[in-house]
């Protein structure tokens, strides 16, 4: 019986996430999550820690399209759908890091 996120929390989060769009950085570490927690479906996906040019670090899911995620590769913050459709049937969007080689 885990209390789930609400449209209000997602709305508040999205305002912060938008500010990160377009940021560039490098992967510090990454992992392929084979066994997702509840709410993230049942397919594997990559998650990484990246460091931006200003020194700040971020944890985010990765967008992997043809470039293998490996520490040291460059990443760029893009806007994507996050997770599965929630219990109130609203879609959640936010930052993922695209691996650009």
């Amino acid at each position: 019986m885990i209390l789930k996120q609400s449209p209000i929390t997602q709305w508040r989060e999205a305002k912060k996430q938008r500010l990160l769009l377009g940021r560039k950085g490098k992967l510090v570490s990454c992992t392929l999550v084979v066994s997702p927690p509840a709410g993230f479906g049942d397919q594997s996906y990559w998650v990484g820690v990246a460091q931006f040019r200003n020194g700040e670090k971020m944890t985010a899911p990765l967008v992997v399209e043809g470039v293998e995620p490996v520490a040291g590769r460059r990443v760029e913050a893009v806007w994507r759908r996050l997770g599965e459709v929630g219990p109130e049937e609203y879609l959640v969007y936010g930052i993922k890091l695209k691996v650009v080689g």
């Binding site: 019986m1 570490s29 066994s35 927690p37 509840a38 993230f40």
Partner: protein, 383 residues
């Protein structure tokens, strides 16, 4: 300042205990803990209760009142939540009250019920110990430690086989422990062949979901019941920022380094004085990092020690004689207390087949989340 002693210690069987609920586990640990201490319920002055997720998974908070249900009277009860370090922090709080002379005899009990729901639901619940960004990124706890493990492999030349070594050792130790969740040996080959959960961590490198409870009775007026006196000579707590990204390094827990340093100072002891240690091996990588953070090896070198079978029963400074979190099990709120139960049992010479020879000093290292909280206790036998 008052000296603090362990008067009694008890842990339930750890495992998927479907016939026992949260209350059953809690009450068993209290009853048998008091019995081990040769104490009547009325002699307990206060209770420190460690639990992480009863509210999330069982819908039950207000656990202090549940303890009063057992005692059939109203005691001061403090519920402590610090993720997987709940047990260690509850003990540290109890020690503070005893040192100050607020009480003479208290009970510390940890309990967790984790196997009633789907694995994915419990996994999501565990993520309440991580940061909101880590949850939003779809990470599980395995994923968080996998990020640390991947960095360790990249930076220090360790291999995937090296990640199996702590788990192999801990399963061997657990095969000698009837209370363990997995009391059987598992080879490094079998661990390496198990499926990936979050790369590079494999299923058999991850501690399980476990039900269980553990209790210790702490007192400043010990009674000898045919046992040596076991004294708490250090109790130190530290931590770090909640999220992995807010720390300097992915391969060291600054809270563990600090708590260990402070504990060694408090006790006037060092790593070479330890007969045995119980470290927080929620994942096999965690044990490697712990051994380095506790000062047994330089950063990045613990795996060389494991390759030489250091830490196995029969060697010096045995690591996780109980089987650790991996093989004894990890009922989150109970673990920190269970570590102290193991140390006490070993120092009393009552560990049977897994007895550490000439056990004189033991250290317990209990971590919350990815290191947001770390508690280190040192226990010493007084002859």
């Amino acid at each position: 300042m008052n000296k603090i002693y362990i008067q009694g210690a008890y842990q339930t069987k750890f495992g998927e205990l479907w016939s026992l609920g949260l209350e059953d586990l809690l009450f068993e640990a209290i009853e048998k803990g008091l019995k081990d201490a040769h104490l009547k319920a009325v002699e307990v002055e206060a209770v420190y209760l460690a639990n992480k997720m009863a509210g999330l998974l069982s819908g039950q908070n207000h656990l202090g009142a549940l303890v009063n249900t057992y005692f059939k009277r109203s005691l001061p009860v403090v519920r402590v939540e610090s993720a997987c370090a709940s047990g260690g922090v509850a003990t540290a709080q109890a020690c503070q009250a005893l040192r100050a002379g607020d009480y003479e005899t208290v009970l510390v009990v940890g309990v967790e019920k984790m196997t009633d729901l789907l694995v994915s639901e419990t996994s999501a619940g565990l993520m309440s110990a991580a940061s909101s960004d880590e949850r939003a990124a779809g990470l599980s706890f395995v994923g968080l430690y996998a990020l640390m493990a991947q960095s360790y492999l990249n930076e220090f030349g360790a291999t995937e086989l090296d990640l199996t070594l702590p788990a192999e050792k801990n399963h061997f130790h657990a095969s000698l422990n009837l209370k363990a969740q997995f009391p059987f040996p598992v080879s490094r080959e079998r661990i390496l062949a198990s499926s990936l959960v979050a790369s590079p961590l494999r299923l058999l490198e991850c501690s399980p979901l476990t039900d269980g409870a553990a209790a210790v009775v702490l007192t400043t007026r010990p009674r000898l019941n045919g046992r040596s006196l076991v004294r708490v000579v250090a109790s130190q707590q530290s931590g770090s920022a909640l999220g992995l990204v807010d720390r300097e390094s992915l391969v060291s827990l600054p809270g563990a380094v600090k708590a260990a340093h402070d504990a060694y100072n408090e006790a006037g002891l060092g790593p070479d004085d330890l007969s045995l240690v119980e470290v927080h091996d929620c994942f096999s990588i965690s044990e490697l990092l712990a051994l380095e953070d506790l000062g047994f090896y330089q950063t990045g070198e613990a795996y060389f020690g494991l390759r030489k079978n250091e830490g196995w029963l029969g060697k010096e400074r045995v690591v996780n004689a109980s089987g650790g979190l991996k093989a004894c099990g990890h009922p989150v709120g109970a673990t920190g207390v269970r570590q102290l139960v193991e140390l006490a049992v070993q120092l009393w010479g009552e560990a049977g087949k897994r007895q550490v020879e000439k056990a004189g000093v033991g250290l317990a290292h209990n971590v919350g989340g990815t290191g947001g909280t770390v508690v280190v206790h040192i226990l010493q036998k007084e002859d």
